[in-house]
């Protein structure tokens, strides 16, 4: 059981984000939910790449007694997570800009009222 706890945390984070996306009516809260889902996915990628008692894959002054490659965590999931984080920031900025524009145009953030066509 104990070795599954990181995956349970990942699933819980994705649930929380999905709940916010599906059941909230406020656009800002939906954006927060999407951001939480993104954090859960990033955590899942990092969790997949962990190796037991591994150190970071950087050779500058390694801790003495480290064996490589068996004693280092996997570098490829970390690099892809780095890519994913930057994409997440860009998408978050674009979503918040659209939300600001919608608020100026409609005067509300409720998705039920925005759904109706204006004018």
């Amino acid at each position: 059981m104990i070795e599954y706890i990181p995956f349970i945390v990942v699933a819980t984070m994705i649930f929380i984000g999905l709940y916010a996306v599906l059941f909230r009516r406020n656009l800002i809260k939906i954006v927060i939910g999407i951001s939480i889902i993104e954090s859960g996915v990033n955590l899942f990628l990092i969790t997949l790449g962990y190796r037991e008692d591994g150190v970071a894959p950087i050779f500058t002054s390694l801790p003495p007694g480290t064996t490589y490659p068996a004693g280092m965590v996997l570098p490829v999931p970390q690099a892809l997570t780095l890519t994913s984080i930057v994409i997440g920031v860009a998408v978050l900025a674009l979503m918040l800009s659209l939300v600001m524009h919608i608020y100026r145009k409609y005067g509300t953030l409720d998705v039920r009222k925005i759904r109706r066509l204006k004018e």
Partner: protein, 158 residues
């Protein structure tokens, strides 16, 4: 919004150079220590966002135009692609590491295993780190600046 109180401005004046130095250190040592272009760029951009918070976005807009920032971002992107294309010219493939193993800049190959930090290694990776760092600094700062300015203006010219 014309900025916050004098206490906040003084604290930001002290903290801003330290943040800048730390971010540029993370960018420059991206091939030796944890970090790189993206992370250091995010640190420097958050330092610039601190300036926006303390002094107000109108004051910052008087100092630097958004056109200049977005041209900095384009310079970073063009530099990144140019280094990759130089790999196509001097090596065999796109993104080829043509500087590693040569006697030029950043050309030393480090010894295998745990080594000290030799700055003169890495081939084209420090150059790419620098280009991406410029790009991320300008991109994140222009996003924060424009959004702060738009939320402080009452009337939009729609």
């Amino acid at each position: 919004m014309s900025g916050m109180s004098k206490i906040v401005k003084t604290a930001v004046n002290i903290l801003f150079p330290l943040t800048m130095i730390f971010g540029l250190y993370v960018i420059a040592h991206g091939h030796l220590t944890p970090g790189g272009g993206f992370q250091g760029g995010a640190i420097v951009a958050s330092g610039c966002a601190m300036i926006v918070v303390a002094y107000g976005s109108k004051w910052v807009f008087k100092q630097i135009k958004e056109k200049r920032l977005s041209s900095f971002e384009s310079i970073g992107a063009v530099g990144f692609i140019a280094v990759a294309l130089l790999g196509l010219v001097f090596s065999t493939v796109f993104f080829g590491n043509f500087l590693a193993g040569s006697s030029l800049l950043f050309g030393t190959i480090p010894a295998t295993g745990s080594t000290g930090a030799d700055f003169n290694t890495g081939g084209v990776l420090p150059l790419m780190n620098f280009a991406v760092g410029v790009k991320v600094i300008a991109g994140l700062f222009v996003i924060v600046l424009v959004m702060a300015y738009a939320s402080s203006v009452k009337e939009w010219d729609t």
